[in-house]
Symmetry: none
Subunit: 223 residues, 4 copies
DNA sequence: AATGAATGAGCCTTCATTCAT
DNA sequence: AATGAATGAAGGCTCATTCAT
């Protein structure tokens, strides 16, 4: 018996249909077409199951044209993942910057909201970013990994400050980080615009979940 | 700057090293060797990036031997995923059966614990099961999907019963399901036996997180 | 526009459906089942496009069983071709033996009739015999070729005797042999029992064609 | 005992050595080299027994080069067969067009001559065209079959007109079509330029055979 | 004879990439 | 930049055949 709560309504990697790259970040011309096509196919089928020919057919360019814009298929993926982590980090920073003098609880809430919203809005990007990083070579992955770790540090530090505040009651801060990070990351796989919930609503709810998970008490003290 | 809270310590899909298939489920002989080799490589590199020759080299059999046990590479994956979902469902059911007359809160706790422990103990299996299902054809995925949905229904129904109990305060039950399911699912990617935490400890903590997330109050009424 | 005279009503090598090996020649048991299955598949698909597995599936025996009866796939074909040429030669000889004291014209008629009837009755055998002999190795083909050449000699000698008789008027005896042999050989490809003509009728008509082709005059002298 | 009349002097599918594709029809460059190599090997060994590697070695190109000119091995065969039937039909039409106002007898003679000459000159093409069509899939064979049937219709209609003319005496027009078509078709298997007979001579003789077979009387009336 | 597993060569085809134009 | 042809490695898979049982 199938309940209305099923989390995997179909056999696709990502529920969302629409694209794709953050506005203002997509390059013009063939380069942009290639990146968007590659992102779409990597998200739906996976990097290993997508050929250069597939990408170029989707982008409506010649196969060799790809090689005048990128040195290899791997570096197409690298650029996409780079874009993904960069945009993600930018949003986290932006969210933090708007409440940097407020209590840790406010900061945590803002971070989780930004985390979730970006996974809703750029779900394909997030799926690729989170599932295909292992396809990059060690040298290629290094700068990308640095950005990812920076994002994690941001959340980790806020969690640390929260845990030092008596309004929270955290049994294991590392596991809390894993749990909060993980629940947000999964949003990219199931969210799609027609699901009946707005990104902001999901974000608010998940921020609430994060607060609860951290054991916040109902009458907070000043941070 | 890397903090001690980083969730992705290296560029691999799955942190765990060890294998692999649930005891008692692994077939004898070449068939079992092939399944374990394939599981390991699919988990580390992905299905698309693993060749039949790779699997057979790892399993120390001839490539043609694989084809006397499986009709295709896809059906090797299918069997692994089937095993994964079946074992997962078996554990959820077992956990539930041991508290079927208890309050929903107890049941939720038991389910989350089973969910997490199985993602710790069979992390490779869980990673493959959760990230490569899209590589199966429609016909092949159908029976597997049915098992997955059965597992989800189990958790969904318990959440539903919890939400109808006044000791819980759930803003959105569907999102709660996504959050709790998602945080457990991600465990497979980062957990490894030498991380300093036992599966039981992680499971207890995540069960606690789930309770909190569901807004449980501190003096529960009988379910 | 398709006329009712079209010679290739469908894309198959041989029009006939039914089998197969001459009665009394088919071995008992697995050996016979294998030969008949192989003949059928070689006729319909060709030797190169038929696998040992295909043959064994059709014959409902194990793959290895074939190898306890035949040393190789090639020698299955060799046996079939051998059977085909042997039966063909037997029939030509039998036909000749019944008119050995009659005029060459009678002998030619009898030979053409036997040639055509055997191509009607064992059309699958004839198709394989005539189109797959090149698949045999030099050593294997030698004894088979000898039988074939014996059959041809039979017809060639009768034609020669006819041409020396003044009731015939043959411009080129070698070409007459090719023409008469060739028109009979093609019968195996298009004849099928439900075509509305009996083998005897076709044989009589082709014998008449052969006579005409040899330029027979209407008041024959004694041979 | 081998007579000088033997029709199968050696174990090959086709007696002729030389090539191959009609002048003016062979494409330039690698495509043409591949077609000629494939034709030669298909004729000598059969389609099923010829690998893509064989073709490419013979054509002195890389195996992948074949795939930038043809979608598959099957479509190499399809193109060859298409060329064969097209050229054959073209020659029949050309022959007919030069005697379209003459008596049916003249037309029959012209058709048989064209039929035979094209089987002498392009014997490899004819052998492949006539023996490997069954290797094509249903969809691929359809347009090719249409051309073949058009050629057959041409001959069938002329035979029909002949049979309605009192100078002919045809016992069974359908069998006459089979016989005349079949004897010409077999020419491709045994004719070779050094056999001591020119294509024209063979063609004239077979045209004579065809007339006799149709029961022509020796003092024809105007058609 | 018959079986089930295994073998090594080879199948057709596609891959990411390069090069001369 | 863009093109069409070409390249060498590797892809998944099937082949005819063998062997221990």
């Amino acid at each position: 018996m199938k309940t209305s709560l099923s989390t995997f309504p179909q056999n696709r990697r990502v529920a969302a249909e629409a694209v794709i790259l953050p506005i203002g970040v997509t390059p013009k011309g063939a380069r942009g077409k290639i990146l968007n096509a590659a992102l779409r196919l990597f998200a739906l089928r996976g990097y290993g199951a997508t050929s250069v020919r597939d990408i170029c057919k989707e982008a409506k360019v010649q196969t060799t044209t790809l090689y005048s814009h990128f040195p290899s298929k791997e570096l197409v993926l690298a650029e996409i993942i780079q874009l993904g982590h960069t945009e993600h980090l930018r949003r986290l920073r932006e969210a933090l910057s708007q409440c940097e003098h407020q209590a840790p609880a406010e900061q945590l809430s803002a971070l989780v909201r930004a985390h979730v919203i970006s996974h809703c809005e750029y779900s394909m990007l997030a799926v690729v970013t989170n599932t295909e990083m292992h396809a990059l070579s060690d040298d290629t992955v290094r700068p990308v990994m640095a950005i990812l770790q920076e994002s994690e540090s941001l959340l980790g530090e806020v969690l640390l400050r929260c845990s030092q505040n008596s309004i929270f009651d955290v049994p294991d801060i590392e596991l809390a980080l894993r749990a909060i990070g993980g629940m947000g990351m999964r949003v990219a796989f199931w969210y799609e615009p027609n699901c009946g919930k707005t990104p902001e609503y999901v974000a608010d709810t998940f921020a609430n979940f994060a607060m609860r998970l951290m054991g916040i008490t109902h009458d907070p003290q000043p941070g």
